[in-house]
């Protein structure tokens, strides 16, 4: 139905225009999240192909990606200037938390990797 596709196109265009307005640092974070999730998907696809044999390694890899994505989302929330809740939190502090949590996550991941 031509109207459906054209409506979808209009919707996507408006979304992308709106997205272009977001500040660069948030875009960086979004890109990072996309990167992490993509890595996770690649690993899941591999697992689907060859089986779950070193299951701990698989879990470790996937959880590392998902975990870091989650932390990045948290960072984005805290850094976003439009977010009233975190108005008083300096972004550097949020970034420091992000770094620290990532380091702990990756320690656990490396231990579980085997």
């Amino acid at each position: 139905m031509p109207s459906a596709t054209s409506d979808a196109r209009v919707l996507i265009q408006s979304l992308s225009r709106a997205y272009a307005a977001t500040p660069t640092n948030l875009k960086i974070i979004d890109l990072y999240v996309v990167f992490a999730v993509a890595t996770a998907l690649v690993q899941v696809a591999y697992m689907g192909l060859v089986g779950t044999f070193p299951f701990n390694s698989f879990l470790s890899g996937v959880l590392s990606c998902i975990g870091t994505a989650v932390l990045a989302v948290c960072l984005r929330i805290q850094v976003n200037k439009d977010n009233k809740e975190f108005k008083d939190l300096p972004p550097e502090r949020a970034f420091a938390d992000f770094v620290l949590c990532n380091l702990v996550l990756h320690l656990v991941i490396m231990n579980f990797l085997g």
Partner: protein
Amino acid sequence: MAGRRLAPAALLILFVAAAVTPFSSAVRRVSDAHRSAAAELFASSADGSFGDLESTYEAVRTFQILGVKDKSLTGKVCKFAAEKLASPASSPAKDLFHAVRISGALGCSVDAGVYDGVVARLKAVIKDTNSLLEFYYSVGGLLSIKVQGHNVVLSDAESTFHSIKALSQSDGRWRYDTNSAESSTFAAGIALEALAGVVSLADAEVDPSMIGVVKNDIVKLFDTIKSYDDGTFYFDEKHVDADEYKGPITTSASVVRGVSSFASVVSGKLNIPGEKILGLAKFFLGIGLPGSSKDCFNQIEALSFLENNRVFVPLILSLPSKVLSLTSKDQLKVEVTTVFGSAAPPLKVNLVQVLGSDSKVITSEKKELQYDRENNVHYLDIAPLKIDVGKYSLVFEISLQEVEQETAYATGGTNTESVFITGLIKVDKAEIGISDNDAGTVESVEKLDLLKDSKVSLSANHLQKLRLSFQLTTPLGKTFKPHQVFLKLKHESKVEHLFVDFLGLVEKFYYLSGRYDLELSVGDAVMENSFLRALGHLDLDLPEAPEKAPRPPAQAVDPFSKFGPKAEISHIFRAPEKRPPKELSLAFTGLTLLPFIGFLIGLMRLGVNFKNFPSLPGPAAFASLFHAGIGAVLLLYVLFWVKLDLFTTLKYLGFLGIFLVFVGHRTLSYLSSASAKQKTA
């Protein structure tokens, strides 16, 4: 074949031996067997000594009583004793006591002067001591010197008597000295011996009332005597775990010595029942051939004191042979002697009762045994008694012919002894046959002569029954039921079956058909002609074995084949997981890196720059360190995955973390202040 013939004879002997042994431990008088046992136990070492003085004395005294003379040793032992006597002042009383007694027993010639010195020393010991053992040794030594012909008199004997008596207890036992609390039966024995010695050595008569008190003590002591069921009496200490526990043989011997010695020096009789003296004699004889030299000495010396003592002389009744054969018309023979085998006074022996197994009374007629003076044996023909073969208990009664002798001799009333009466068992009416059913309509019967081997040939199948019958009669014509009856069937492949009754089960034969050899063995302790006979052979026709039937036991008994190595078990490991091909894994590793590349490209497209990197050197340094720190942590993680363990990693992480926190704090606070300035600016 010869081996199989011997088997029932051996069985019979074994059975007889096993059955007779409990009765053969009944008392027999001292005999040559005791002499050789003593010679073995008291073997002297090369230089002619038997060890220390006490052991030497025990050896010498035992040989003296048994009449064993060894002239070669006498000289050496006399010299050994003389050495001890030479310096009395330095030797303890115990050594002098044994040395003097050794000289007395061997008849060594000792200088009178030497004995004077010894006497003086022993008298000094008596004056000073309070200990029972010291009294015993010194009084005993003096007594022995007096017996050897030297003149010794103990002045002030009454006070010595008192001192020894003071150590007695109310139950007839004695203490060793005034300090010890425990009383001992052994001590009572040596105290009585010492008191007897004092009475002999005294220059004046000892107060008769004191002697009466001691007589009472002896009666009380005999109240503590212990006994076994068969009339044996013995003395033992009250507390087995006491310091100086010596065992029943030593303790009983000590009491016998003491009581006999005391009875021989005092006038009047001691009020002790004769059965206890007889019980003590039975105890010592019942030891048989003793195992240790000390036990041997105590046994022989105690028996020698019992042989002729003034209390009661025990008379022992014994049977030279416990197996009487009806076939050879054996006579029942009984001996009554003293413990050392000397003749008893004139007496009569009556057979009062004959009891069969289960104590069933066979006859109660009193039969007097006739006396054979030459061999000192009482005998009786048993044929007129009409007693059949079997095991019996005979009850005897001894009665002394002179009534006054009854106060001097202990006979023990009735004595019970067990005997076996054996005879030839007649076997006849032997038949063997196969019958079709229980009713016994015999298909084929053959008469057997069981006095010799037979060669019967039979055949049967599993539906028929094998019947073997025979009759056994005793010499008196009664039917006899033997103790052991076996029928043995032996297959060609050497599989054997033993039947105690005559019903065989097909399954027991392992379903092996074929030819079986038959053997019959009949035996009993009282049967003089037990036999093992080959009867012939039997062809058995048995049905096929069903699958679950037991197989015959494997006949090849090669011991090595039983214990050879077993089959090797190989461990089955878990099959390893299937791994994907290497190329695929590598491909996907590359694929994993793709999003990272995409990330970097995206960053560049977004216009990422390092503008905010602090330009001033100080903050710049911190910023660099911050990044370096993060990089170091990540490197540490890689190392952790590759080779480090968790604890090392945590240790380094700790250091790096602290560093990173510090540096990061500086950097970020600088950046935040910088951005705040920018905002306000």
